[in-house]
């Protein structure tokens, strides 16, 4: 299946206008749709979720003139319908793909020194990013990770009680801290690669 053309500026503007007459609102909706598509592709086993999401968006953008006149309903649902087709095509391609075995299998691995250096870098980035958290957030996430493996649900409730937090709120707060840590560590590792 040939890849569709890349998104042109013109198509992109038309797509935003279709999502919402207010450009800022349209931008937010576009971001949310793209972000959700990437995760849906991930959870459906696509090996390159970003490409899958972009392919979906390109296809929708290619039809946006027609859609803006005829389509009724939440545009996000249309994006999802196209994404399901892209996922189906991906699965068919993967099922039919033959990957010949190389004549000689070469196993590439880092030397022990490279592995150790890589691990050190990651630890250093983690330390830096934990330090960048507010003291309360740092304390919460480290306490949470100290919980024993068994009875984690009961332990989470106990921690929420000790912190004076509603359990749902604590889960959301931890999720945000984890997300922020992941982004920080990724930036740190990219910085050290330069």
């Amino acid at each position: 299946m040939p890849r569709h053309q890349t998104l042109t500026r013109e198509n992109f503007e038309a797509l935003l206008a279709w999502l919402d007459p207010d450009r800022e609102q349209a931008g937010t909706k576009y971001e949310n749709i793209r972000r959700t598509l990437i995760k849906i592709f991930t959870w459906n086993g696509h090996n390159n979720p970003g490409d899958g999401a972009d392919e979906t968006i390109n296809r929708v953008a290619g039809k946006v003139t027609e859609l803006s006149e005829t389509y009724k309903g939440d545009p996000a649902i249309y994006f999802y319908a196209v994404a399901r087709n892209v996922i189906r095509e991906f699965r068919r391609r993967e099922a039919n793909r033959e990957v010949p075995l190389p004549d000689k299998l070469q196993v590439c691995h880092e030397t022990p020194e490279e592995e150790a250096s890589d691990a050190d870098r990651k630890r250093e980035c983690l330390r830096e990013c934990l330090e960048a958290l507010t003291p309360d957030n740092r304390r919460l996430i480290l306490k949470y990770y100290e919980l024993e493996k068994r009875e984690r649900i009961a332990a989470r409730k106990e921690l929420a009680r000790a912190e004076g937090l509603d359990i749902t709120y604590m889960r959301v707060k931890l999720h945000r801290i984890r997300t922020a840590l992941n982004k920080c560590i990724e930036r740190c590792l990219r910085r050290d690669e330069c």
């Binding site: 971001e31 793209r34 995760k39 999802y80 330390r127 960048a132 493996k149 984890r178 840590l181 992941n182």
Partner: protein, 269 residues
């Protein structure tokens, strides 16, 4: 048996591949249109990866997580981060030392000294904070369109990650900023679309969730195809590190602000 809400249970079933085709389709449609439901699934995904690292899953649960949630580089990175945090939190506490013994034995005197030091620090912080707030108000109080360029003001144009896809954002470095030594003030410039917002709010954060300041009622000046919002701040507060400038406009109610964009930059020396 663990207690889970229905929402949690559905999210787990979805993530572990336990839904049939129809259920899956319905669930995914909901994720596309309900941001709260989507965030919830992200949260449950994290918790499943944690349970995997902590060994809190039965054998079939581990197998399902490995098959469904450890397939992309991003998921594998998340797992590594979870392992690293766990390792960090498990490291033994530093052994007691003489300083701690001294503190324990001179508790009362140390208590008074600590209280005095704290009072001094709070006073100094309040003074500094007031100074920063006053300085920011002074720097951003007057409209600057048409004013001659000032050599002590270092302008920085910021671009937003807002409309970039994730893949494209990963190929771009955040805007790197090297502030010249002679600059007293840094002026962060943000190009905005033409809109009817009378003013804007900006929040500057350093690293992760470390708010430096919030400025309200900022006015934007005219620019080609839109507006130009300029935020001035003392150069001395920009230590090397990662920053985020969040721009928003007043919403429908007094306390509500609608996000316009997040502008990332990195100060280097």
């Amino acid at each position: 048996m663990e207690e889970r809400s229905e929402e949690q249970e559905l999210s787990r079933q979805y993530l572990l591949g336990e839904m049939d085709g129809g259920q899956r389709r319905q669930f995914e449609e909901r994720l596309m249109t309900d941001p709260a439901a989507f965030e919830h699934v992200l949260m449950v995904e994290d918790e499943l990866l944690e349970d995997y690292v902590f060994g809190a899953l039965p054998a079939d649960g581990r197998e399902k997580v490995a098959r469904h949630l450890l397939t992309t580089p991003e998921q594998l990175r998340k797992l590594e981060v979870i392992r690293a945090i766990k390792e960090y939190s498990d490291r033994p506490a530093a052994p007691q030392n003489r300083f701690r013994v001294f503190l324990r034995e001179h508790r009362s005197a140390v208590g008074w000294a600590a209280a005095l030091l704290l009072a001094f620090a709070v006073g100094l912080w309040a003074l500094t904070r007031d100074s920063l707030e006053q300085e920011l108000a002074r720097l951003n109080g007057e409209p600057r369109v048409g004013q001659p360029a000032d050599a002590s003001v270092y302008p920085v144009e910021l671009t937003s990650e807002r409309f970039r896809g994730v893949a494209e954002a990963e190929q771009h470095d955040e805007d790197k900023v090297s502030v010249p030594r002679e600059a007293r003030v840094v002026e962060l410039r943000v190009r905005l679309a033409a809109d009817d917002a009378p003013s804007y709010r900006v929040v500057l954060e350093r690293g992760v969730e470390q708010k430096i300041f919030t400025l309200d009622n900022l006015k934007a000046g005219p620019a080609d195809a839109g507006k130009l919002l300029a935020v001035r701040l003392p150069a001395r507060i920009l230590a090397p590190g990662y920053y985020q400038l969040q721009v928003s406009r007043p919403g429908h109610s007094k306390e509500q602000f609608d996000d316009i964009g997040a502008y990332y930059f990195r100060v280097v020396k």
